[in-house]
């Protein structure tokens, strides 16, 4: 029963990893940009949530009403005025610039908030559990986190495949020169994609901050979890990304169960195994 419990917790944490990964995957899919600062933006969203909950006296989840639009606006601005200038045939400039951004965000947060770890208080929901059997119960908060991840990925999937925005995203991803011939401004679409990505990031940031302690230095590790979930699931497939997050979460939970020090190692090993056996991931995008 202990094992089942660990695996269940791993599945639920996988939802959080899928949230890290979905934003990353979206940006890469639309504009082939690898955002090294992605994890630090998650942490930035967590600190914004800290400020907003303290200043406005809102609960962490309610604070998303402020933070998600704010992060989306930051994303749009960042893309239009900085990252668009780095895009081109060469993949290196956007990597270097987002790496620089990562350093700036980490040190900026360190300067403003100090290296002390913080946590968002969500109240009674944090300790509430639902008993499944006498020995097995699941926490309400991890469950909510997982369900939010599922809903978010379903919503992104619907946006991509059923709306005019989604058509513009996919067409831009196909051919950013021809898309202008149908009246789409590719620079604007890139801005929208980054805005959407950071809105997703803000949700991930809030759950990260409620779930455990956070500090300015933890961004790069979240980036790695996001990357691993994307690769395990298969590039360009959002449901695959959710599956990738779950695989990573379960591997970490099993590792931690064997020995608490093996938690991260087990996740990385699962990732390397998938990369060795099935490098295209479990659910690669269907090619025409």
């Amino acid at each position: 029963m202990d094992w089942l419990n660990s695996i269940l917790q791993g599945v639920l944490v996988g939802g959080l990893y899928a949230m890290f990964a979905a934003g990353l995957s979206l940006i890469f899919g639309v504009m082939r940009l690898v955002n090294i600062a992605h994890g630090d933006l998650v942490v930035l969203a967590a600190y914004l949530a800290l400020v907003v909950t303290q200043a406005l006296g809102m609960g962490p989840l309610a604070s998303l009403l402020v933070i998600a639009p704010l992060m989306a606006a930051i994303g749009y601005g960042l893309q239009r005025w900085l990252l668009n200038r780095t895009l081109g045939d060469d993949l290196l400039p956007p990597l270097l610039v987002t790496f620089g951004l990562s350093v700036i965000i980490q040190n900026g947060l360190l300067e403003i908030f100090s290296p002390d770890s913080r946590k968002l208080q969500a109240g009674a929901i944090e300790t509430a559990t639902i008993p499944l059997t006498p020995d097995l119960s699941i926490g309400v908060l991890p469950l909510v986190q997982f369900l939010v991840a599922v809903v978010m990925i379903g919503a992104l999937q619907a946006l991509f495949y059923r709306t005019a925005w989604g058509r513009a995203f996919r067409a831009t991803s196909d051919d950013q020169s021809t898309v202008q011939l149908v009246g789409v401004d590719n620079r604007h679409v890139f801005g929208l994609a980054m805005g959407l990505s950071l809105a997703v990031v803000s949700v991930a940031g809030v759950f990260l901050a409620v779930r455990a302690n956070f500090d300015p230095s933890m961004g790069p590790a979240r980036l790695i979890f996001g990357f691993e979930a994307v690769i395990i699931g298969g590039l360009g497939n959002l449901w695959g990304t959710l599956a990738g997050g779950v695989v990573l979460g379960v591997a970490q939970a099993i590792g931690a169960k064997i020995d608490p020090g093996w938690q991260l190692l087990a996740g990385h090993l699962a990732f390397l195994m998938v990369l060795a056996v099935r490098p295209e991931g479990f659910f690669p995008r269907v090619q025409a």
Binding site: R170, Q180, L181, V182, G183
Partner: protein, 233 residues
Amino acid sequence: MRDLLTICGLDAFYGDFQALFDVSLRVGEGEVVAIVGSNGAGKSTLLKSIAGQIATRRDAISFDDAPIGGERTHVLLKRGISLVPEGRRLFPSLSVEENLLIGGEHGRKGPWTLARVYDLFPVLAERRNQRSTSLSGGQQQMVAIGRALMSNPRLLLCDEISLGLAPIVVREIYERLPQIIGDGMSLVIVEQDILQALAASARVYCLQEGRVTLEGDSRSVSRETIAAAYFGV
């Protein structure tokens, strides 16, 4: 006839390479103009300049009495200039219907709708949910034309629509031209197939090595004159 498009002294460059030299040309409202010339004569470059895909001097190109040279492509589409690009350039991850829909989402309002495009090319209605890459070349060309029409252009630019297609398919597409320009749309067709171009157009320009070597009436121009302008002999 009122001029919709006027080009005056247009030079165009790819980096240091000059592709067009002092090109002047006009297209009247509702007129069909053909541009012929051999490979590398600058025909596609000319269309790309008009559609804003190549930087040009602002006042070298005027559309509806306003200078538009070097304006961005998506802005020009909203003013009514639509290009059917060489090689069709459909979006492979969009279905046939989605390719058409995206064509209409950022353009002008007007008579062209999904239903009317399907009316023009009924075969596309049967294949609406297929991926555009699964279609034959001719059907893909129909999607490309339909996608451009969905933006309700005032000026439609067609770059080599017969390229790589069987003659019977080319004829089928050209037979639809009267239906396409029925509402007074102006049309510029770039073709290597001179007879097809002359039959479909009212006036013809011939380009050779980036310069206009002939301008004439498509009905009265003689083959010898065209050949001379085409090959420079």
